[in-house]
Amino acid sequence: MISTLQPPRSLSHFRSNPTLLLRYASLKPLSSLSSQPVTHSTITDQSQSPNPPSHSQILSTRHSLLSRHLTATQLAESFLTRLRLTEPHLRSFLHVSDSVLAQARELDEKIQRNEELGPLAGVLVAIKDNICTAEMPSTAGSRVLEGYTPPYDATAVRKIKELGGIVVGKTNLDEFGMGSTTEASAYQVTANPWDISRVPGGSSGGSAAAVSARQCMVSLGSDTGGSVRQPASFCGVVGLKPTYGRVSRFGLMAYASSLDVIGCFGTSVADAGILLHAISGHDRLDATSSKREVPDFSAQFVSMNLLESKPLKGLRIGLIRETLDDGVDTGVTSAVRTAALHLEELGCCVTEVSLPSFSLGLPAYYILASSESSSNLSRYDGVRYGNQVAADELNSQYMDSRAKGFGSEVKRRILTGTYALSAGYYDAYYKRAQQVRTVIQKSFKTALDEHDILISPAAPSAAYKIGEKKNDPLAMYAVNVNLAGLPALVLPCGFVEGGPAGLPVGLQMIGAAFDEGKLLKVAHILSRHCRIADLFLH
């Protein structure tokens, strides 16, 4: 799908040969880091089967491996080469695994022996660095965890590995997820592959940029208040925030526990759905993970008839009026309205819906997030977790370790949360915010009783320049969804002027709790709708 959205200067003449593609990557100037995927198009184009796999890199990989068109080692080498070429400009990764090739070789041996392959065999996955990995550092972008390697894998990571996925490395983020540009990382600033003078969004900016630049196939991020969806929009990839409770958070470093979820990035709706399926399900190590059965999301991608003229007939879509008010770039508004027209062409009934409580969500979100972070981050005290500063008295050791380890934004949020949770203030702040959460949950419920899916922009603008908006307040589009715990998917739906090739704009689609399947189906059909592709190709 994304390949149809990308600038057309692509690479049809390079497509048939991986080595040529790699040469292409090395020849291209910086400004075109946003260029086409290297191996992905190679694989899809090389597969001569009568039913060529969709744009899914995961399915293409499987197909290539099983049909012996490519080895896992070739695939891994190709991605690693591209990663090395692009990384000096993008800086998406805080750590790159040194065992990718060894794992790929092991997989090739399994293929040789005709052993059964997991559904993610050979899939190269990047992991946001606030998600624990047993054999790699996990810093959450903070100095306080510099050099820390957890003694276990997060459940989501464990599942990916068990299904055959290969973890490429750990991606950059705003420290502990607190930010929306990835500039608040203690280590480095990540650039947007579409224009390296711009931010990739955040806080999962590294994971979004890595997928966008094809440094990996898919990645995991986390979303507390838009941290998967906004960078997906800025980087022109698919971002999926699942329902709260769908995915175990065991091993995700807690920021705001009532809001945090682990989410997925991919270059196609199918990949995001397949990855979500892989990591979903109840986990006894996370008491908030749901026991609901996980449907086979991939069924949404194979069974539908794309030739049908109105494949989404009868579907009711609500366009959230409050999200198209002042303060939204006109390019963004028009891209979203155009997407709404396309949905109508596909048979949907699109109406505007008003959610007047929306504006309350932002202060409520901020109170909840800062309060919960002040509690959650108390564990980084130099004794339980985090680098220790020498001191001759325990309290000073705590205070100095935290002072040295945390960046300014983290300190400010902890202090703000400490204030909101001060004795006697609970009713005025935290409880009020929780009451607002109830109001917002109810208004979403009402809107989703009348509509199958709600749509809005994913962010009020396209990616902005690095350094331009360090203190950009969070957009209300994203945080209300976290307050209600609903699933949402961001799909690239257009471009605005800017950068060497235009800048992507994302459409946010919000579904009812645990209804990711419907989101994936609609997004998949919308993304394959050829007229959208026409629109995006200049």
Binding site: T149, P151, L360, D427, G485
Partner: protein, 147 residues
Amino acid sequence: MGSRALLLVKGVSSSSLPKNQLFYNFNCKSNFPRPNNWVRTNCSTTQSSGPSLEPPDLPRLAQTARISLTPHEVEEFAPKIGLVIDWFGQLQDVDLQSVEPSIRADTEGDSFRADIPETFENREAMIAAVPNYEEPYIKVPKVLNKE
């Protein structure tokens, strides 16, 4: 205290207030809700009738949060945190009287495991990460009683 504090600030819309006055007025111990001219009340002449929401006292917050702040940080953070808290104030206007608070989205989880201790498999790796360990203790500097 919380509910009384709430009363005191009820009717204040942060957007309708000059930013720098809101905190000042949070200091007023005895303002009764007067939606329109609350801000104008003179704090010094009114009588104290109960606690209110104090503005952030950065050094005290830093102590509570166990984060040492440099004087420069105190100076830099105070107005920023003040503005955020000021902005939180807009929720005081909203009528939420009969609304139940939600601690999180309903996950249909409630799947607490049995309250039986379990041993973590990779204990050695955890202990290896402790900077100062003397079997069976984690060593920390002395704990002074500051009272």
